[in-house]
């Protein structure tokens, strides 16, 4: 904790945007998405929360790409791959949701228990 005392005050530390700010914002977004996944019973809302989680990871990658590898931009390349996978996942996930809705006439996760024993 001595290091923290020697650095400029806590308020100044919070106001100067650094890598930690982006990581904390991404962590908050990730946790909101995780909370949505666990508490929602609506299939489409769960898919939306998964998109939020993927975007939080993307924000981490881009922040690291600026602050850690600014010359090679590995983080941005990884973020583009994640974006591709997320778009594919959204398309297939919504197709499955539509198919389930057509079969069960509901999107309530608790009522879709075909594979539950």
């Amino acid at each position: 904790m001595n290091d923290a005392l020697q650095q400029p005050g806590l308020i100044q530390q919070i106001l100067d945007v650094s890598l930690g700010h982006y990581l904390v914002a991404a962590a908050l977004l990730f946790c909101i998405g995780l909370y949505g996944v666990t508490t929602s019973r609506n299939l489409i809302k769960v898919l939306m929360s998964i998109e939020l989680i993927l975007n939080a990871v993307n924000l981490n990658f881009v922040a690291f790409s600026k602050y850690v590898t600014p010359e090679t931009l590995n983080g941005q390349v990884a973020a583009i791959f994640i974006m591709t996978i997320a778009a594919a996942e959204a398309g297939v996930g919504l197709a499955i949701a539509l198919s389930i809705f057509r079969h069960f006439k509901t999107v309530d996760m608790e009522k879709i228990h075909l594979m539950k024993w």
Partner: protein, 199 residues
């Protein structure tokens, strides 16, 4: 004026503000701290709206706003190509895809009952008091091996990304195109009506 119009107005203003913010970020590359705080706070608030608002169509549009702010954050982070791709792909395609999905599934299951409040508060404690504080403890007080110097402002990120794609990441790049094709065909095959197959 009913409440319905009021919140349409609010949503319109939100989108308008986000667009103004993005344009001003593009034109004036100053005030990165201020831009970060405005964009991050808007992003977090709209993400909270996505998971808490009961009417799911509104959470769909709030998700678009969240992605728009995230695109702004990418631009603040000198990733202008990724910011543009974020706005095109997420705000333009994925969010609208979700809105279509909501409309095709009978109001998106608006009458779906929710979990009990005990379960919700338990999940809240686990996620925010447990996981979030753990992550913050790690990222805020941890020491990162940062680069010596920040990238020059006028470095063209898209050139570097293109070179990376066709040298180091050539194989993942090709596989990604294959995955997109597979996802396209799979989505069509899964979502079509089943009796069409048997005719």
């Amino acid at each position: 004026m009913t409440l319905r119009y009021a919140d349409k107005l609010v949503f319109g203003l939100l989108f308008f503000a986000a667009f103004l913010l993005l344009i001003s970020l593009l034109l004036f590359n100053h005030g990165e701290d201020l831009a970060f705080f405005i964009l991050a706070i808007t992003m977090i608030l709209s993400a909270v709206g996505v998971v808490t608002i009961k009417e799911i169509i509104r959470s769909g549009f709030l998700m678009a706003l969240c992605f728009l702010c995230l695109g702004g954050l990418y631009i603040v982070l000198n990733a202008s190509f990724l910011g543009a791709a974020q706005i095109l792909i997420y705000t333009g395609a994925v969010a609208i895809l979700f809105v279509f999905g909501i409309m095709l599934t009978h109001k998106g299951g608006a009458e779906t009952p929710e979990h009990s409040s005990e379960f919700k508060s338990l999940s809240f404690i686990f996620v925010f008091v447990g996981l979030f504080l753990l992550i913050v403890r790690g990222v805020w007080f941890g020491t990162w091996k940062l680069a010596e110097q920040a990238a020059s402002q006028d470095m063209e990120s898209i050139v570097v990304i293109g070179q990376q794609f066709f040298s180091t990441y050539l194989l993942p790049f090709e596989i990604a195109s294959l995955i997109l094709l597979m996802a396209l065909m799979g989505a069509i095959l899964i979502a079509r009506k089943e009796d069409v197959l048997h005719e």
